[in-house]
Symmetry: C2
Subunit: 482 residues, 2 copies
């Protein structure tokens, strides 16, 4: 018991060292473990289950918009990377290479996919012949590898899990609509499911995907003020169509190149979610993806135990039947107080307490992980009350995250203002930008902040570039990012 009791103090406070807090929490809550392979983690069952909930719901939304899943080889021949110049420059430094297989040296070495535009482009060129074959709307759930120098569990690992959508269209307009539709699906999903508010916008040219015409992103603010790019959607123009010869006979009987898009989110969503919602007590999991939504803890003296646990079991079955992900901790050798701390640390959204007096009164107690609010509810209405509290916890989490983001969202006119702000406060900074790569780079060199995106809805519009003072072409969100 004494060993078990230590955990609360074992979590580094966020203010002391945010990175250490993060590692402490995800390890203690058994979401992941380090593996013996550099930069690769093991997703333990609670961590993986969060991904399953993310995947299932996104998959539902993709299918509802006409997409289907497929699976392409993870090996990509070296020559494929040479076909799209920007693409190879962007990804080459991060590729792992298979050079031997089956006891022989390979004639052409094979990369493990960092993303599949090239392989999928090659296949689309075989499948697409006529405008009647379009659009092609395919998504893939897969593992990908980018051999990163610096890694961080979930947020940046050598191997990670993701989905990558790849679509081909007859016209630019249709492809651009698809690009925007998928960005919208991402934004709505992270709001509805992960309770994360995000800023939608367009990446600057220096930050766009290697091979894209335009890249759009949703950007989330972590509790240390840094940004995470939570999802991206790319309009690829005809770049990959030209590189992989994806042509079709158009309505006017002429050969045309398709317009393609790609879009993806990955297991870094798990990391973002933790950094947005967690606190010094541990994880706080959004109810819709929490492996355990309700933890039931029977309380009261030993002599009443059997009776209380009996009633608790009935309520447990009722909740389970209703589709609530509920668990019971009825261990008698561990105190309720210890359990309360334990499941708060694990981020379980709602705790259900039931004791002898509650039994007599036909009630039980629901406690919110986020606000600590206690509700005494009728056992007869339990399913409804639990679902209500789960919805309230989600809403509360979203609003807290949005308030935090708004409080840490600053507006500056000059680079000096920005430097001063960055030194003192954590957060995002809105500023004008002339559009030159030099000014963008200057900001990065001086402050460590990169342009996150050019928001669709910047609230205020800046007129001067924060660096050179020339007319601003864009109003940009800058931040230090993971």
């Amino acid at each position: 018991m004494s060993k078990e009791k230590q955990f609360v103090t074992e979590i580094t406070p966020q203010q002391e060292d945010f990175s250490r807090w993060y590692i402490d929490v995800i390890k203690k809550a058994d979401l992941m473990d380090y593996s013996p392979v550099r930069g690769c983690i093991v997703f333990r069952p609670d961590g993986y289950e969060i991904w399953e909930h993310i995947r299932d719901e996104l998959d539902r939304r993709f299918k509802a918009t006409g997409h289907r899943n497929a699976y392409f080889p993870m090996f990509i021949p070296e020559s494929f990377f040479q076909k799209e110049k920007e693409h190879v420059e962007g990804f080459n430094p991060e590729l792992p290479w298979v050079t031997e297989a089956g006891g022989e040296q390979l004639e052409e070495k094979l990369a493990i996919r960092p993303t599949s535009e090239t392989m999928i482009g090659h296949m689309y060129s075989k499948w697409i012949q006529s405008y009647r074959d379009l659009p092609v709307l395919i998504n893939q759930w897969a593992n990908v590898v980018r051999w990163e120098k610096r890694t961080l569990p979930f947020l940046r690992t050598s191997e990670f899990l993701w989905q990558e959508g790849h679509t081909a269209h007859e016209t630019e307009q249709e492809a651009r609509e698809e690009t925007m539709q998928m960005l919208k699906i991402y934004r709505e999903f992270v709001e509805d499911y992960l309770a994360i508010p995000v800023i939608e916008g367009q990446k600057t040219p220096s930050e766009k995907f290697a091979g894209a015409v335009d890249t759009f992103s949703i950007e989330a603010m972590m509790k240390d003020g840094r940004a995470v790019q939570a999802g991206t959607s790319h309009y690829l123009g005809t770049n990959f169509a030209v590189a992989f010869d994806i042509k079709f006979l158009g309505r006017e009987n002429e050969q045309e190149f398709v317009h393609t898009t790609s879009w993806g989110v990955s297991t870094r969503l798990i990391g973002s979610m933790i950094m947005v919602h967690g606190d010094d007590r541990g994880l706080a999991l959004p109810p819709k993806v929490a492996p355990t939504q309700v933890i039931m803890i029977p309380i009261g003296p030993a002599k009443m135990r059997e009776q209380v646990v009996g009633r608790a079991n009935e309520l447990f079955s009722e909740l389970k039947q209703a589709g609530v992900r509920v668990r019971m901790d009825d261990r008698s050798d561990i105190s309720p107080g210890w359990k309360f701390n334990e499941y708060e640390m694990r981020g379980v959204p709602v705790r259900l307490e039931i004791g002898p007096r509650d039994m007599e009164n036909g009630v039980c107690v629901l406690v919110s992980r986020v606000t600590g609010e206690k509700r005494i509810v009728q056992q007869a209405d339990l399913v409804e009350e639990v679902n209500r509290m789960l919805a309230d916890v989600h809403q509360e989490m979203f609003e807290r995250a949005r308030s935090f983001r708004d409080e840490h969202f600053y507006s500056v006119e000059t680079i000096d203002e920005m430097k001063a702000q960055m030194e003192e406060k954590r957060g995002f900074t809105l500023a004008g930008w002339c559009g030159s790569e030099a000014c963008e780079k200057h900001v990065k060199d001086e402050t460590g902040a990169t342009s996150r995106n050019i928001p669709f809805d910047p609230q205020t519009t800046k007129t001067k570039c924060l660096v050179c003072g020339e007319d601003a072409k864009h109003t940009v969100v800058f931040a230090r990012a993971y």
Copy 2:
């Protein structure tokens, strides 16, 4: 249209060349395509969706028996393979190796997992300390690679998709129960979902998994009489526990090694299903995994078209609402006859025809892909009738497959009988075996047949070894296998 019409004749008859029939069907039905990487295929949407249905249902059954999913790195350090001697000998020849990554030579080269006993064993040794941590019941859905010399789409590809369960237990008995439980889940699943009858049994020592104490399998018969090992479940004893030092403090306060199991099925189930049920008209998909369960084809003269399609759309919505995977082909420039052939080739279990006279009478016609049976059913009972026919199609497929298997199941006393039978007829052969590796090898050398398994329920028990004539230790199923 003339080009479209050719497809029926483009399928090689099964009797002429079964392998060509197989490739013709899976390509024409758009289940897969060859990729530019040797031995790797692309799972196209209809092929991948079959896998999604397999995965979802198996996943449900795994979870119902207390298993949870996790995800481990696909890279396995070379040194890990050295730790279990049989394991390295079994898998080393088939491994692909990553030797460079991120622009540098790796200090230790990394295999792409062919299976994950080693990586998972390494992690379990960190997670398991006490008998209180047991059992550990984890499953992983993943891609794996075995660099095969000869490949065949779905049945044997370099990269394939599978699930691998890995469990650790306190006692041998518990681990053996788990091994048997999972084999049973596999058998029930392939019967209930894929309509494939299988023979459950134990592998002979020469055919067991590299590193296992005992391997159990389910074996299915293809329409060319060859066998496919459709699923395996292994009792690994303490082999991997010793190799990876997976110890726990037991109830008697002594350090003990865990007993582990592993079990898996893969995308080769898709190939088996096709080879068990398909015919010269093309695919025949078991209703529970068919991407399209019902194809609706409105028929009748052009002037009635709008009205018929209107009513068909209403029925379509009703079926969709009820959870039936239904598609409508209301193209007016393609004849119903062509469509009938097309969807038969694609293996859609039930065709729904509706014409002007049916509309008047409030009926429509359901046609079974397998028997050709036509049922005129009331539109008012459509959902019920469709579900009934889907269930009947499943049952009919299972019974046909079982009859075929029983008709091609022979019993022999001597190797000469077996040779004669193998030359004339395709199928499985039951024979006695003394237990010596020499006799088993002799059978293989003489007939090309390998021991599939020692069936739990052999129907008849053989008393003499078919090769040496000594007392038989086991009654064994022999067959040529994929």
